[in-house]
């Protein structure tokens, strides 16, 4: 017995034929027509999706060119957003300043010197209104890179949209909200891991029910890698965190086929070209297999490892900064060959400061060159089947599986408990610090050459024109906050915060609705954070070298 569905190639062909294609010639620069895929199955779009999540990949849709931006005040960043959209960017990505990421207001003593410096300062709904002023929130997809206070940021975003007549169900985008990697790498946590996981799970439940186009968690290896992890550690820790979120959502009674579709990932693209491509391919294969076999997903869309990629900030050199443009181009190409769904390309001056306008534009142009000039988008998984790529993919997978086995053991059969244990016993931070130091020693010993740093050092003609955020931003933002606090209805603020604290004590209450209520009274980010901190406590990391 045989029909079309038994033959993988015919199955792929049927899926490809059903895809809407971009109206461009799929041929080389010299006019040679090329096929949509080469080599053997499993084909792109087919379980376990090693070769890509769609049958037609970039022939249907290029990756989203999503440039991360944020600095100074909300008005400043709003201006940058409009420039990026005007320049052909297709999604927004918001960088918040350090106080905002830590749930602190601009007038907190902790915020001294940090307001608006490394991202945009958001204290109240009023700032979020300015951040997205004159931008059609039904028409863009927005990414917000925030974790500890993610629920508050999401509440503010949907409140801005609703004030402008856009329903929450229409909103498309992603909030990073990956709290586990904060304890492992980025260190922007507020509460201890378990209450933090409750917030994440509440957000997954809330968005699954009310915001079907929203990705409630972007499970992020980026920061793990930046902190010093190897490619395989980045892959393993990230996917393990993903398994932990799945286990938490399952424990809360959610349906894996429903929330599984909304989980997305965020990886780093570093300079070792084939290792990165192997990592991306392995990520898709591992995720699909675990979702299906371990967590019982039956809908293939809940098995897809959809991911955003950012080039490796840590690879950028302060020395001869212009040569970073070449590094970024190579890393961006690896992301495209790895089948990424969206891409941020770093600006050449980012080892020194936030990107200047010119550097940000060159970075966007770099990925446009990859997309429109190189031809790599014409063929899905063009490297698939090459012995080295397949070996590298297998090797990344093997190393990751070793880590999963260790975590499974640490958690007595639960990856979630294994991840908690690894946070508590210093496993993650220890492994990452060991890898960072190993790399540094190799560079120091000259066994690895970083061009411009320990080799080929002639020609460093100093720093480009850097973006400077001056102290005036901090003073201005504090005045703004003061005005909002004076003009709001304090009774409503106090009542909403009291309700939030009460909700925090009851694990059966979803925290999102009371947080939305609180931000609408113009309660500040810090006030909302403190209302929950009273119940959840704070997290202090053990200082381990």
């Amino acid at each position: 017995m045989s029909d079309a569905n038994d033959d993988p190639q015919q199955r792929w062909q049927a899926a490809y034929d059903a895809s809407k294609l971009r109206d461009v010639p799929f041929e080389t620069m010299s006019g040679v027509p090329v096929d949509a895929v080469y080599g053997d199955g499993p084909y792109p779009g087919e379980y376990p999706f090693t070769r890509g999540i769609h049958a037609s990949m970039y022939r249907s849709r290029l990756w989203t060119m999503r440039m991360f931006a944020g600095f100074g005040t909300a008005e400043d960043t709003n201006g940058r957003f409009k420039e990026l959209l005007g320049a052909g960017g297709t999604g927004l990505s918001t960088a918040f300043d350090m106080p905002t990421l830590m749930g602190r207001d601009s007038d907190s003593p902790w915020s001294l010197g940090e307001v608006g410096r490394a991202g945009v300062a958001i204290d109240t709904l009023s700032d979020m209104e300015d951040l997205f002023a004159d931008i059609d929130l039904a028409g863009v997809s927005t990414s917000m890179t925030i974790n500890g206070p993610a629920a508050t940021a999401l509440a503010m975003y949907l409140s801005v949209a609703e004030k402008n007549g856009v329903a929450r169900s229409q909103l498309g985008g992603t909030i990073q909200n990956d709290i586990l990697k904060e304890y492992q790498a980025q260190k922007e946590y507020i509460y201890p891991p378990r209450p933090s996981m409750r917030i994440v799970t509440d957000m997954v439940r809330f968005t699954t029910a009310e915001m079907p186009r929203w990705n409630p968690v972007s499970i992020s290896g980026y920061h793990i890698r930046e902190a010093g992890a190897t490619a395989a550690e980045e892959l393993a820790f990230t996917l393990a965190n993903g398994f932990a979120y799945v286990e938490a959502a399952l424990a809360a009674g959610e349906d894996v086929d429903t929330f599984g579709k909304r989980l997305s990932f965020f990886f780093n693209s570093h300079s070792d070209f084939f290792e990165e491509i192997g990592k991306f391919r392995a990520a898709r294969r591992i995720w699909a297999r675990w979702m299906k076999e371990r967590y019982g997903a039956t809908d293939e869309r809940a098995m897809l490892c959809r991911f955003h990629t950012q080039t490796a900030g840590v690879s950028l050199t302060a020395q001869q900064p212009e040569i970073n443009i070449a590094r970024v181009a190579i890393q961006a190409l690896a992301g495209a060959l790895g089948g990424t769904q969206s891409l941020h390309t770093d600006s050449y001056d980012e080892a020194l400061a936030l990107p200047s306008d010119k550097a940000a534009r060159i970075a966007l142009r770099t990925q446009q060159i990859v997309a429109h000039e190189t031809g790599v988008v014409n063929v899905a998984d063009p490297l698939g089947g090459a012995p080295f790529i397949e070996w590298m993919t297998d090797e990344m997978e093997r190393q990751a599986e070793d880590v999963f086995a260790k975590l499974d053991d640490m958690g007595n059969g639960s990856i979630l408990e294994g991840v908690y244990a690894g946070i508590e016993n210093g496993y993650f931070v220890g492994e990452i610090a060991d890898s960072a130091y190993r790399f540094e020693r190799e560079v120091n010993a000259g066994r690895r050459i970083i061009v411009g740093v320990n080799g080929f050092t002639d020609g460093d003609d100093g720093e480009a024109n850097l973006l400077r955020i001056d102290q005036a931003t901090e003073d201005y933002q504090r005045k703004r906050l003061d005005t909002v606090k004076r003009e709001r209805n304090q009774v409503a603020v106090d009542e909403s915060l009291a309700s939030l604290t009460a909700a925090a004590t009851d694990t059966n209450t979803n925290l999102m609705p009371p947080i939305i209520e609180a931000v609408r009274t113009y309660a500040t980010l810090e006030e909302v954070a403190m209302a929950m901190e009273q119940v959840f406590g704070t997290y202090v990391e053990k200082a381990i070298v």
Partner: protein, 134 residues
């Protein structure tokens, strides 16, 4: 005058909210491997907590790592806090400090600045040199 034959004791810390700790941990290991006694206080320290640690540990030098562009505010605040506490130990700042800010930090009393790409030799030599000059 510090006796250079004694083991140098260095307090390392992240001051304020900045969570970028890859660099300072690498530096901590470099200095430890060079035979120094490293007291790493960790993240989210205040000028007060650092002053207290320097006193308690009888440290010879303090190293702060800064990656969030807050150095022009935070480094002078640290110098001032040490001065207020009557503690005469030099402060080294590492991390991301644009060239244009180096002079301002030196004038504010920062003893040395270590930028990205500094080798282990440079890091160790800088610590030894600021301690011997103190």
């Amino acid at each position: 005058m510090t006796d250079k034959t004694e083991q140098i004791r260095i307090v390392l810390a992240k001051l304020g909210l900045d969570g970028h700790d890859r660099g300072i941990k690498v530096v901590a290991r470099m200095l430890r491997d060079a035979g120094m006694e490293v007291i790493y206080l960790g993240l989210r320290q205040t000028t007060d907590s650092i002053v207290a640690a320097v006193e308690q540990e009888d440290a010879d030098v303090v190293g702060l790592s800064m990656h969030n562009a807050g150095h022009l505010t935070l480094a002078p605040a640290m110098v001032e806090a040490l001065r207020q506490g009557d503690i005469d130990v030099p402060l080294i700042v590492g991390g991301i400090v644009p060239d244009a800010d180096v002079e301002a930090l030196e004038q504010a009393g920062v003893a040395a600045i270590l930028g990205p790409g500094a080798s282990a030799e440079e890091v160790v030599a800088t610590v030894r040199s600021v301690v011997s000059e103190a």
